[in-house]
């Protein structure tokens, strides 16, 4: 039996109209519409387009929740095995809508999705991590190559095959584990011999490129500065109320320092799993120096210690999570008019 596919397109490719019809409300039609005909042919009977969802680009942008829910319903109603969206070429709103519904359906219906865009379509950067996006030309002139590529990738996913570079999708930048035929040590020595001989070889992991943060200039007036404490050393109230993981933290905690002059073993601990916790649990000031900051506050060296502290565990924590924690904590500190932060690690 052929696989069942639902196809998402915008008002333009449905032949309803251009910019003037971009508010066109979402509708579902049985069978193929517009580019669906060519896609259906390219699927060569192995998969059938059972329904087409048509939605104006502005409507999709303005009513994202409603559109996602409607696409989810259509996929369920038509018992879809896969969602195709687009191709959107370089149409920004269309590409973003294709990415949005594809990503939503993958997560909430649990079926694969394939879309297609020009590499500079803004939908690419937002959704490439989640999706296979076939690379297309920048206009509908690229339809002739986009359609067979989408169909080929869709059939691979439907059959449970792992897509390869030959499928022409935009690299997602996602690392996936696999078992190779040989152990890592053997692969390493083989690669070394190639490198010695000057033969071509492919690294298994291209080295990352990092953001570099320029340090801010020194605080001139410490006497009136509010100083905050932020740690990746895992200092939390006893019992770890926010359940920050010992490694690979998924969250951070925000805790009040109100009335606290010294961190004590009965009320504080570390959640960090990457070091011997004995000394941090004995006296958490060793990692988060509240006692010393209170002294400096009394002595008038600093204006005051910020009333909240922020803590996470920097042990195998992904860069994406760390960046998110940093941005959120930074914004909170900025809003609270904190002048400087002491970041303690372990």
């Amino acid at each position: 039996m052929a696989y069942r596919v639902v196809h998402y397109i915008n008002q333009f490719f449905a032949g309803i109209g251009g910019e003037d019809k971009a508010d066109h409300e979402l509708e579902v039609r049985e069978g193929v519409v517009g580019p669906g005909l060519a896609l259906a042919n390219a699927l060569k009977g192995e998969a059938e387009i059972v329904a087409t969802i048509i939605c104006g680009d502005n409507f999709a942008a303005m009513h994202s929740e409603q559109v996602c829910a409607a696409v989810e319903n259509a996929c369920k109603q038509y018992q879809a095995d896969l969602l195709l969206a687009g191709p959107a070429f370089n149409a920004g709103r269309y590409g973003t809508a294709c990415g949005m519904v594809s990503s939503f359906v993958q997560k909430n219906v649990g079926i694969p999705a394939v879309t297609a865009m020009y590499k500079e379509n803004p939908g690419v950067d937002i959704y490439k991590k989640d999706l296979y996006i076939v690379e297309t030309g920048d206009s509908a002139r690229g339809m002739g190559t986009a359609v067979p590529a989408m169909a080929k990738l869709a059939l691979a996913l439907l059959k449970g095959e792992q897509p390869s570079k030959e499928h022409g999708y935009i690299e997602r930048g996602v690392r996936v584990n696999t078992f190779y035929d040989t152990c890592g040590a053997e692969r390493a020595v083989t690669m070394l011999l190639k490198k010695i001989k000057g033969e071509p070889f492919t690294t298994e992991y291209p080295m990352p490129v990092f953001d570099r943060v320029e340090p801010r200039p020194a605080v001139k007036d410490m006497k009136s500065a509010t100083i905050a404490l932020v740690t990746s050393g895992g200092i939390v109230p006893k019992g770890n109320p926010d359940h920050i993981a010992a490694s690979s933290a998924q969250n951070y905690g925000e805790y009040s320092l109100s009335g606290i002059n010294d961190l004590t073993a009965d009320k504080h601990q570390t959640a960090h799993g990457g070091y011997d916790q004995t000394y941090a649990n004995q006296d958490a000031d060793r990692v988060l120096p509240v006692d010393v900051l209170r002294d400096l506050e009394k002595e008038g060296v600093i204006g005051k210690l910020h009333e909240m502290w922020y803590a996470t565990v920097g042990n195998g924590t992904s860069v994406a999570n760390a960046r998110r924690f940093g941005q959120e904590i930074g914004q909170k500190l900025k809003d609270a008019q904190v002048q400087a932060v002491i970041l303690t690690s372990t």
């Binding site: 690299e171 996936v176 152990c183 040590a185 690294t203 992991y205 080295m207 359940h243 799993g273 860069v319």
Partner: protein, 434 residues
């Protein structure tokens, strides 16, 4: 230096009245071994169990894995500095009980020990699902402090492994039992090594040892590796247990004593030695936490490689995050000295695989072998039998609150599985970009 490894293949473990090997079955006198280990008064309790490949058994938290070995020839014993004296090893004849491991477990250093599943999806990720395991469940005394408990358990594992091999020694010497294989490894003097195979490229191995401390420690001849300058070691010394794990880092990429004894990079370099390359030396170096130490050790390790006059080297890492800085320094210093490198590491790319995998980077690191993304999630189904302490799964690195479900299944990152992303390249796991 020449070392012969006399390997007896063990296919089954059982408890019985006398410890010894027959037809591939290792019988263990439980009482005798338990009493022997309890001679260490820092231990309140010891109990032994066995686990075989394919069984519905989960072992956690596992601290270390050790392969039973002892010397058949005269001279210093294996595990120098712990079992043997501090004099050199790596020569003569060594008995190996192959296909088995001693796994130490129990109430240990909770956060960073590992899981070993003997069957199911988790078993694919740990090399120790393929070995017959004697599990030593250890209970340090109440008054023993955390870092001392690590030492107690480390030494108990070495003693148990040495005891098992020693009890089979007489049978081998009297030829009542024959080794299944005998393999000879030669580590000639430098004068000889330098002139051997003039047409083949000279290659060294820079072997990074975890030394972030506390509880992130490795021992070389009993010396804490954070106190060493990088130095040369004969590959045959590693086979006699000159390098011992004292690690409580994430289980996936800590080098257990077993993988130090069976270092796959050394094995692969030997396999190509005299054919495609001339393997002239192993340089051990550390991964200390201060910048001065990192600079000193990386410069010194690369200097040793230059003194050996090698054209290229494999560099293997242990651990992740902070040691990535050491890996990268070793890499660019070697490359800028004209020594070609291949790095063996693993990745922390996040559960969705989309973050940068390493904490440091250099453009010279253009040849990298990866042992996989340690953040990958896996669901481990319930097992009929659990040896150790299941609630520990909640705080084992890579596990998280709620990871142990009521039915006994667990949701963890493969980070929690012993040896899953071993950075000596012990397993076949790797990763690629989609």
């Amino acid at each position: 230096m020449k070392l012969e490894l006399h390997r007896i293949r063990i296919s089954k473990l059982e408890f019985g009245s006398s410890t010894g090997v027959r037809n591939g079955v290792l019988t263990v006198n439980k009482d005798e071994l338990e009493k022997f280990l309890l001679e260490d008064e820092r231990l309140a309790g010891v109990s032994l169990d066995v686990a075989h490949p394919g069984e519905s058994v989960r072992i956690l938290p596992v601290k270390d894995a050790v392969e039973p070995r002892c010397k058949l020839s005269e001279g210093n014993e294996v595990f120098p500095g712990f079992i043997g004296d501090v004099d050199p090893v790596g020569e003569g004849k060594t008995l190996v009980l192959e296909g088995m491991a001693v796994l130490t477990t129990g109430r240990l250093v909770a956060p960073q020990e590992g899981i070993v599943d003997m069957s199911g999806p988790g078993a694919e990720y740990t090399p120790f699902s393929q070995t017959c395991n004697l599990v030593v469940v250890l209970e340090p005394s109440e008054e023993v402090k955390l870092h001392e408990a690590e030492s107690v358990c480390r030494i108990a594992g070495l003693k148990a492994a040495h005891y098992l091999a020693s009890r089979c020694k007489e049978a081998v010497l009297s030829q009542a039992v024959a080794a299944d294989t005998v393999e000879t490894f030669d580590a000639p003097a430098l004068t000889e090594a330098m002139h051997a195979y003039p047409n083949l490229p000279k290659v060294a191995y820079i072997y990074m040892l975890q030394s972030q401390g506390l509880l992130h420690d490795t021992y070389v001849y009993g010396v804490d590796a954070k106190k060493i300058l990088p130095t040369l070691i004969s590959p045959t010394e590693t086979m006699d247990g000159a390098i011992i794990s004292g690690n409580c880092v994430s289980a996936c990429d800590k080098n257990s004593t077993y993988v130090h004894q069976n270092n796959p990079v050394i094995k692969q370099l030997y396999a190509r030695h005299g054919k495609e390359l001339n393997f002239v030396g192993v340089i051990i170096t550390n991964e200390n936490v201060t910048l001065a130490d990192k600079k000193r050790s990386s410069s010194y390790a690369v200097k040793l490689a230059r003194m050996l006059g090698v054209e290229a080297c494999v560099i293997s890492e242990e651990g992740f995050g902070n040691p990535d800085a050491d890996l990268v320094m070793n890499c660019w210093k070697a490359e800028r000295a004209g020594i070609k490198t291949v790095l063996v590491t693993d990745e922390y790319a996040g559960r969705d695989g989309s973050s940068q995998s390493l904490a440091d980077s250099c453009p010279e690191g253009n040849a990298c072998v990866t042992a996989g993304n340690a953040n990958m999630m896996i669901t481990l189904p319930p097992m009929e039998k659990v040896i150790g302490d299941a609630p520990k799964a909640d705080i084992i690195a890579g596990g998280f609150f709620g990871s142990l479900r009521e039915d006994g299944s667990m949701e963890v990152e493969i980070q929690a599985i012993l040896g899953a992303t071993n950075e000596l390249g012990f397993t076949r796991l790797g990763a690629y970009t989609i």
